[in-house]
């Protein structure tokens, strides 16, 4: 009996392999008005991917023109399907969105962790109280290293095969870690940044810091320390977050409620008025998401022209502090409410929010391509979403 069932199963499988998929009874898949010719596979692909459903259940109307409205639907669905299927999460069969933060997703850190960055494999977390930079393995959350002697490490940057941390001092400092070496003391590569640097970005040549005292510093990497630093103060009041959009560096001025587009010398090219007390933004490939702490809101700015596309409110925002992007979604930490909010990056639609717990004070955030990682400053831990 069992052998007979196995045989029948094999025969059925062979029949499926030998012929076309069952259930599609038209000429080209379900479509009776489309020839089974060289174009049919293209039509079937966008049908299978649910980019089109046809003009009816059995017709595709292949000769009809496409209106701009219909085209928008096709292109929008194409973007969504491609990003979803091309993501690492899809490859790992992880289609869920975390809706409850369980204890198992928390990794204990030091006294006051601040910012986090991924190098693609490990997470690097700064702690200004313990003066530590901690390395955590992303795949399993295992503690790997503590790097010491970095006074007030703040914003982090992974670039040119090194880890950089802003030293939140006056004058500001820039620390460097060679992650291929054994843990020890960081290397101080500059001690003349503007006062109280908060965030770092790299433009392919130079490292930039946003300095809370009212400047941006431009650091030129070299073979020996100290590295050359140029600090620009004109037009700045209290710079916090920074992003690089592939062409220009942008700086958020927390006190002026402005987003500035900078030229390669730090001069202000364009000014965008954002919300009340902007924090630490992220670039998603097209747009810059600026969290506004006191509104609370998110200003979405098109990087190519500086136009404000939308000001997002609701979706659990409460003291939004830092934004992070994982290829499909933008996550924002809500420092005062103890939660994170998520949006679909492509159409700015809200995906909901998740509590991290009272007093957890979510602070820095990043993506490693699979997970979002959020620093819970108030509870001294790192959360995996």
């Amino acid at each position: 009996m069992s052998a007979g069932r196995v045989l029948r199963g094999l025969l059925a499988a062979a029949a499926v392999l030998a012929g076309a998929a069952g259930g599609l009874i038209g000429v080209c898949g379900p479509f009776t008005d489309t020839a089974n010719d060289g174009f049919c596979p293209f039509v079937l692909e966008i049908f299978t991917l649910n980019i089109t459903t046809g003009t009816t259940a059995t017709t595709f109307s292949p000769a009809d023109n496409v209106t701009r409205l219909q085209m928008a639907a096709f292109l929008s669905r194409t973007v969504d399907r491609t990003l979803q299927r091309g993501s690492r999460r899809a490859s790992l069969d992880q289609f869920w969105k975390t809706q409850t933060l369980h204890d198992e997703a928390l990794i204990a850190l030091g006294s006051s962790p601040g910012f986090v960055k991924s190098d693609g494999a490990d997470l690097w977390i700064s702690d200004q109280t313990d003066d530590l930079i901690t390395r955590i393995r992303g795949s399993d959350g295992k503690f790997l290293q503590n790097w010491i002697s970095s006074v007030n490490p703040s914003g982090l940057l992974v670039a040119i095969g090194r880890i950089f941390a802003a030293g939140n001092l006056s004058p500001g400092r820039l620390y460097m870690i060679d992650p291929g070496q054994n843990a020890g003391a960081v290397t101080t590569v500059a001690t003349t940044l503007g006062a109280f640097p908060q965030a770092l970005v790299f433009d392919g040549v130079k490292i930039w810091s946003g300095d809370f005292s009212g400047s941006v510093s431009i650091v030129t990497p070299g073979s020996v320390a100290p590295w050359t630093v140029a600090t620009v103060t004109t037009g700045f009041d209290a710079v916090a977050g920074m992003v690089f959009d592939g062409t220009s560096v942008w700086a958020v001025d927390t006190n002026a409620d402005r987003l500035f587009k900078l030229d390669s010398s730090g001069g202000i090219l364009q000014t965008v008025t954002v919300g009340n007390v902007p924090g630490f933004p992220v670039f998603d490939g097209n747009n810059i998401w600026v969290p506004n702490v006191l509104d609370p809101s998110i200003t979405v700015v098109r990087a190519s022209n500086g136009a404000i596309l939308a000001t997002l409110t609701g979706n659990g925002l409460g003291g939004p502090y830092q934004a992070a992007f994982d290829g499909e979604r933008v996550l924002v930490t809500n420092q005062s409410l103890g939660s994170v909010s998520l949006w679909k990056a492509a159409d700015l639609s809200p995906l909901g929010f998740v509590s991290t717990g009272g007093g957890t004070q979510p602070h820095g955030a990043c993506s490693d391509g699979v997970h979002f990682w959020v620093v819970l400053n108030g509870s001294g831990s790192l959360a995996r979403f």
Partner: protein
């Protein structure tokens, strides 16, 4: 003022709002001729992504037909947007292109590193100078292992959970590493390849070597060594590079100045005449990028048609091409330069001087960074 505002940031407890997006004054985002109906989110998505800007700043003209020209623009922007956002670099917030030699992260790996391949996590680098194959961790550039390779390790292949290395010997050899084993000596799985194998590729069943002695070898993995080898010489002069496009193996022939498309037995199906100095090509999913001399030829794999001959990055001694999903990088040895093109439209992105004497040769992508063997400097550069 500043302290007061900053303190407010830390202490504010803020009420939730009803939600939504403000700042766009039309009925559907900025568009006044669009209903806020089921189609509106689709239009807004392609507007936010920069795929459309509308027919004017406030109109989308939803009932208009789309010409083929407009469609080309929409599709091109869609591809660009998806590839950019879907890249590992975007997920790690790395939107820069390295532009200075001082910004290359260089790992010292040996004496004369030649070729490099990624297994997604680590890099494997052949070094005939020290006769080793080095394993470098991609995340931080740490040298993890040095495998004793035997004579003249050359092209590297990662397939079937193993690392394979062509040995540039007469007759040719192929070495194998089990990366899960403790570091030691490589395993020689064949000593009967054609003369002077340079590079390897895999077609899902067999491993192929391009042998500059004038042949192509087809190696069938399996069982204890030596593995079965078939060597084909008909029509070849000095095969150099090889790749698999998902359907066929292709070989660049330095001596014949041609690109050959092969059938499953190594016979030449199609000949594409290119030019001198043909080296080590890359496949980008649609097209083959074949570097040679001062040119990079772009050949459509489905037809063998030459789409373009690229000379716009000013190189004279191009060596190997590599593809990262969006960009093609080409090394140029005596120029000591790395050049980049946008793979989707063949536009030059720029080039970078790696420094005199560095002689960049082999290159690969691990999906995030390009990695380049600096054969003159004993280094592996992260680009």
């Amino acid at each position: 003022m500043r302290l007061r505002r900053f303190a407010a940031v830390l202490t504010a407890v803020l009420a939730l709002f009803a939600g939504g997006a403000a700042g766009l004054l039309g009925t559907c985002g900025p568009f006044t001729d669009m209903a806020n109906d089921l189609f509106c989110p689709f239009v807004l998505e392609i507007f936010y992504l920069g795929i459309t800007t509308g027919t004017t700043a406030t109109t989308y003209s939803p009932g208009d037909s789309v010409s083929r020209l407009q469609m080309a623009a929409f599709l091109s922007r869609t591809v660009d947007s998806v590839l950019l956002r879907g890249s590992r670099r975007a997920r790690l917030n790395q939107f820069w292109t390295t532009q200075a030699a001082t910004a290359l992260g260089v790992t010292e790996v040996g004496l004369t590193p030649q070729f490099v391949k990624s297994d997604c996590t680590d890099l494997w680098v052949s070094d005939p100078g020290l006769q080793i194959v080095a394993r470098v961790r991609g995340s931080d550039g740490a040298v993890l292992e040095s495998w004793t390779s035997g004579i003249n390790p050359r092209g590297v292949l990662v397939a079937s959970g193993r690392v394979f290395i062509a040995a540039n010997t007469n007759p040719g050899r192929m070495y194998m590493i089990d990366p899960s084993e403790p570091v030691g000596s490589v395993t020689t799985v064949s000593t009967a390849l054609g003369v002077f194998p340079q590079t390897l590729t895999y077609d899902g069943s067999n491993i192929w070597s391009a042998n500059s002695g004038g042949s192509v070898s087809i190696i069938t993995p399996g069982g204890p060594p030596p593995w079965t080898v078939t060597t084909v010489t008909a029509g070849f002069s000095q095969p150099n590079g090889t790749l698999f496009d998902g359907a066929n193996v292709w070989v660049t022939d330095f001596g014949a100045q041609r690109l050959f498309k092969l059938d499953g037995n190594g016979a030449i199906l199609q000949t594409v005449t290119l030019g001198s100095g043909l080296a080590w090509p890359a496949f980008d999913g649609t097209n083959i990028w074949a570097p040679g001399g001062g040119s990079v030829w772009v050949v459509r794999a489905s037809t063998g048609a030459v789409l373009a001959t690229l000379t716009d990055n000013g190189l004279t001694n191009v060596q190997q091409a590599a593809f990262d999903g969006r960009r093609v990088l080409v090394t140029s040895g005596s120029d000591h330069r790395l050049a980049l093109w946008k793979a989707a439209d063949l536009t030059a992105i720029g080039s970078l001087d790696t420094g005199a004497g560095t002689s960049p040769l082999g290159a690969c992508s691990d999906g995030k960074d390009f990695w380049v063997a600096l054969s003159g400097a004993g280094g592996l550069a992260r680009f």
